[in-house]
Symmetry: C2
Amino acid sequence: MVSDDLEMSTGGAEGTEQGTARQAWLRTVAADVARLDRSSSAERAADILRRSITEGALPPGAQLSEIELTEVLEVSRNTLREAFRLLTHEGLLVYKLHRGVFVPELEERDVVDLYRLRRVLEVDVIRGLAERDPELPASRLEPLHDDVEAAEVAALADRWPAVGTANMRFHEHLIGLADSARMDAMTGRLLAELRLLFHVIATPRELHEPYIVRNRGLLELLETRKYEQAAVDLHQYLLDSEQGILEAFRAR
Amino acid sequence: MVSDDLEMSTGGAEGTEQGTARQAWLRTVAADVARLDRSSSAERAADILRRSITEGALPPGAQLSEIELTEVLEVSRNTLREAFRLLTHEGLLVYKLHRGVFVPELEERDVVDLYRLRRVLEVDVIRGLAERDPELPASRLEPLHDDVEAAEVAALADRWPAVGTANMRFHEHLIGLADSARMDAMTGRLLAELRLLFHVIATPRELHEPYIVRNRGLLELLETRKYEQAAVDLHQYLLDSEQGILEAFRAR
DNA sequence: AGAGTAGAGATTGTTCAACAATCCTGCAAG
DNA sequence: CTTGCAGGATTGTTGAACAATCTCTACTCT
């Protein structure tokens, strides 16, 4: 959701269209300002907790004690509870009234549910490209390109959780092609929940490795504007991925 | 979100019909208990605000003052802020750091975005029925039936906002056929945002009336299991509805 | 001994009052 | 007309306090 660290200042860009260049620059500045402003204590606390959860430090089922965390995070109880609410609505925590907040334990039916949504949304994005944006500029695919390379590099270094992260960012950027704020929000939530599942799985390599090359294949189909083929491939891709997670899940 | 509790051991299967009747009763009791338990002050405050917003008492753009509302709702500032967070994540309020919370002002692009999502999700639900649940029991369509009738009754009484509400519930129940908790949540949010739009529209009758009969037609297609036809109709239905809202919106 | 119950201790839900940080308004100066 | 600067108002955050609820232990009764 963040970590698009300062993309700014890459110089250049005094091409023919000064007006649009300036507009683009204004946009990036506005984005930076928004990122700085976003600092409220509750959201910073939520950031730390989010990382702890998605990286597995807080395993599914764990309870988060309020007094304990106020000391660790150095925020007041009220602020901490606001952070809890934030994460609750991302699906990364669940409230049980008068009992506390817990890291949710997802079940098979959640996997099925999550993947159903992923298939619907992601496949629709691709089909949508064919209809509404067949002249997709290559620059919009750059983030996807970077993600694929990041996954390949991480794989060479045997860093499989990093591969998983890169793969997820690939899908996040894929959804981003739709220019739909609400799809972006939903996807963020879906992928966050999915991440929850990864930590109960023993074999991250088997889980992530096959999709590095498939992501690259998908990207090439997009670059050559074979949208229908990309949609079909992605559908099968997600079915396979779901199956892989379900199997790993049953074998835990 | 919760209320999966007390699903436990209903004493096994005594008479088949007694068993299911008892199960149904247990479910309703569980729902009641959940409703009472859910009482947290923040959620009660959120309920009141939600109604105020969706019924138009708080128009788009309005700012919600904290001190003012603590007096009206008789809750502390902290609890009120928790209610704000709840509504923020439903899309019914937006936070501006150090400035306060506001009822969002949706624009044309939001209409387009919302309807894109609605089309994707709702049409997929129908197509999904064909694949995974062709033997859909008639009882599952009862809520849809009730909604259609409610809309027809309200129309006869010239109560057009009520017609709009009934129409929305129809779509909510339609999504419910998918048995997907996450689709339900997303739809709730999408429809809440859509409601926000209705209040800047001057002619609720023209907006809602055509869809009463179309809802009934859709329902009949589902009852006779003509799923593909229903999917096609629904797609066009949503395109028309989007167009209607956009026109009313531009003419405001 | 085992089941049920009462109560102590711990945790969460909510309130209140205070202070710090930020925004908005109006006014003066260039 | 814009820029810069108080002053007032609103939001962000804290800490302490109390009420409500849950959990676990120890006790009573059969």
